[in-house]
Symmetry: C2
Subunit: 301 residues, 2 copies
C-alpha cells in the first residue's frame, strides 16, 4: 500500500530529486510529479526516469496532488507559495524541506486555506553537491527529519507524513518552528556562515597565495571549504530568513572567539587547554549517534 496516491515535488535539485528517488524506491506513492522552473534541470530529470511527469510549471500538476512538497530555495517558496496554495485540491497536504521554519510558517499563514493541511518539515540531510544529478535515494537514511506542525494540525496527517519520512529511512522529531530555527542556527546556519567567511578571509590574504591555501589545506582548512561549497543562493536565503537566530549565535561566537584571542595574546595556556579539552566529548557523542559521516558510498565526493 502506498501512503499517498499522487505526490508533486516542486524543485528538482539535490533534495527534490532525492525525494523522488526515495519515494519511488520505497513505493510510497502511485504517481510522482516534479516541477522545476529550470528547463535544463527538467531535461536531466526526464532522463533520470524518477517521475511520472516533469514540467517547468507546477500548475500542470498542482490540481492532481494529494501531497505537495516544496523543495525550492526558501526565497522561491515564499514567492510561489500563494499560487501553490490556491491551486491545491481540497484536503491536500502541503509540506516543505526548507532550512528555516518560522519565517515560512508566518508567510504561509497569511494565505493558507482551512481545507488544506500545512505541515512544514526539514530533513537534516544534504551534501555539498547540488542539482538533480547529485541526488540519491539513500540521502535521508539514518538522518533526522524535523516536522513543525502548527497548532491544530490534523494528527492523522502528521502521522502519515511522519511515516513517509520513516519509510525513507529517517527518524522524525516534532518541535515548534521557533525552537527549530534556534537549534539549526547553532548546528547548521552559523557553521556555514563561519566556513564561508574563513574561506573568503584566506582568499584575501596578501601574504598567502591561493596556491598555498590549496596545497596545505589538509591541515584543517579543507573541512571548511567543503561546507563553503554549498549552494550560495540557498544559503543567502537561509541567513536572511533566520536573521534573529543567526545573529544571536554569531554574536556569542564572536564573544567566545574574542575571549580565546585574549587568552592567546596574554599567554594564558590554562584557559586554552580547559576550553579545548571540553569540546572533545561532543565529537565522541556524534560518532556514537552515527551522525559523523555522510553515506559512505554516496555523500562524499
Amino acid at each position: 500500500m502506498t501512503l499517498y496516491y499522487s505526490v508533486l515535488i516542486i524543485g528538482g535539485g539535490l533534495i527534490g530529486s532525492s525525494l523522488a528517488r526515495a519515494i519511488k524506491a520505497n513505493e510510497l506513492a502511485d504517481r510522482i510529479y516534479i516541477a522545476d522552473v529550470d528547463s535544463k534541470a527538467c531535461g536531466v530529470l526526464r532522463t533520470l526516469d524518477i517521475a511520472d511527469g516533469v514540467s517547468a510549471d507546477f500548475r500542470d500538476f498542482i490540481g492532481l496532488a494529494d501531497l505537495v512538497i516544496l523543495a525550492t530555495p526558501p526565497g522561491v517558496m515564499k514567492s510561489i507559495g500563494a499560487g501553490v496554495v490556491e491551486g491545491m485540491k481540497s484536503g491536500g497536504v502541503l509540506t516543505d524541506v526548507g532550512s528555516i521554519k518560522l519565517d515560512i510558517v508566518r508567510h504561509f499563514s497569511t494565505f493558507m486555506r482551512s481545507d488544506l493541511h500545512f505541515i512544514p518539515g526539514h530533513p537534516i540531510a544534504g551534501t555539498e553537491n547540488s542539482g538533480p544529478a547529485a541526488g540519491f535515494a539513500e540521502l535521508f537514511e539514518e538522518r533526522w527529519c524535523i516536522l513543525t506542525p502548527v497548532e491544530g494540525s490534523d494528527e492523522s496527517e502528521v502521522a502519515r507524513l511522519s511515516e513517509l519520512w520513516e519509510k525513507m529511512g529517517s527518524q522524525v522529531a516534532l518541535m515548534e518552528a521557533e525552537r527549530h530555527d534556534m537549534v539549526l542556527a547553532t548546528t547548521s546556519h552559523v557553521p556555514h556562515l563561519i566556513a564561508y567567511t574563513l574561506v573568503g578571509t584566506a582568499m584575501d590574504m596578501e601574504t598567502v597565495t591561493r596556491n598555498d591555501v590549496v596545497k596545505y589545506s589538509a591541515g584543517g582548512f579543507r573541512d571548511f571549504t567543503r561546507i563553503a561549497a554549498s549552494d550560495p543562493e540557498m544559503w543567502r536565503d537561509v541567513f536572511l530568513q533566520n536573521k534573529d537566530g543567526v545573529l544571536e549565535v554569531v554574536d556569542r561566537f564572536i564573544e567566545d572567539l574574542s575571549a580565546l584571542k585574549r587568552a592567546i595574546r596574554w599567554d594564558d595556556g590554562d584557559t586554552l587547554l580547559s576550553h579545548f579539552s571540553k569540546t572533545r566529548d561532543i565529537r565522541r557523542k556524534i560518532i556514537d549517534a552515527g551522525q559523523d559521516t555522510d553515506k559512505p558510498d554516496f555523500g562524499r565526493e
Copy 2:
C-alpha cells in the same frame, strides 16, 4: 640502501609512530629507536614492533642516532631541546615535525651546535586521533611536507632529508620559517581555533541542548567537531607559539564575519550571494589537487 643508519624519534604519538612505521616499511633506516616519556605509550609502542628500541628517556639512544626527529608537542620540544642538542653525535641531523617553525628556530638557535645540521620540518598530515595506536605508515602519502632550512644549511643534508619524506610518499616544499607560519596560521591554526570556539559556543547555548547539537549535527556542525577533537595540549602550544600569525588572521576573520553579519542585519542579499559564490572555486581546486580527503582506509574514523 637505507638513507640513514640510525634514526631516533622522540615522541611516539600519531605522527611519531607513523614515522617509525613509514621508515620501517620503506626501509629508510637500519635502526629505529623511539623515546616517549609516557610509560604507557612505551608499552604500546613495544607491542607494535615498529622500533628496535623503545625507552622513556631519549638519552638512552641520543648518542647513537644519525637522524633525530622531534615529534613531541611543540612545548616539549622547547623544554628538552638543549638536552637533545647536547647529546647528539657530531655530524648528526636534527629535524622536527612541529606546526610552528619560527619560534622553534629562534629557540634552538640559542644553543645549536655548529657540528650538527638543524633542518626544521612540518608534514601537513594528521587525523583527529592521537596516540601510538592511531598511527599508520601511509599517513604521509600524497601530503606536503614543508622544510624550513636556516641560512647556510648543508644542501646535501637538506636533500637527504627531503628524500626521506619523498620515500614516505610526501611532496617536499622548502620555504622560510616566517612564511610557513603565516601560511599555516591561515590553512590550519585559525581553522582549528574557530572550530574549537564554535563547538564551545554551541555547548553553552541555553536554548539548545547538547542532545540537539548531537542529533542535528549533520547540518554542518559535525565537520567542526572533527577538527575540535584534535589534541588539546598540542593546539594550546601551537596558538601560543604562532601568536602573531594567528592573531593577524583571526582579526581579519572577525572583520570579515562582521561585514557579513552587517549584510544579514540589513537584508543585503547581493553582498552575501557574491561572497558565497566566490568561495566555491577553492573547493574545486582542492579536489583537483587530491587534498580533499584523508586516506580512505585510515584517516576517517
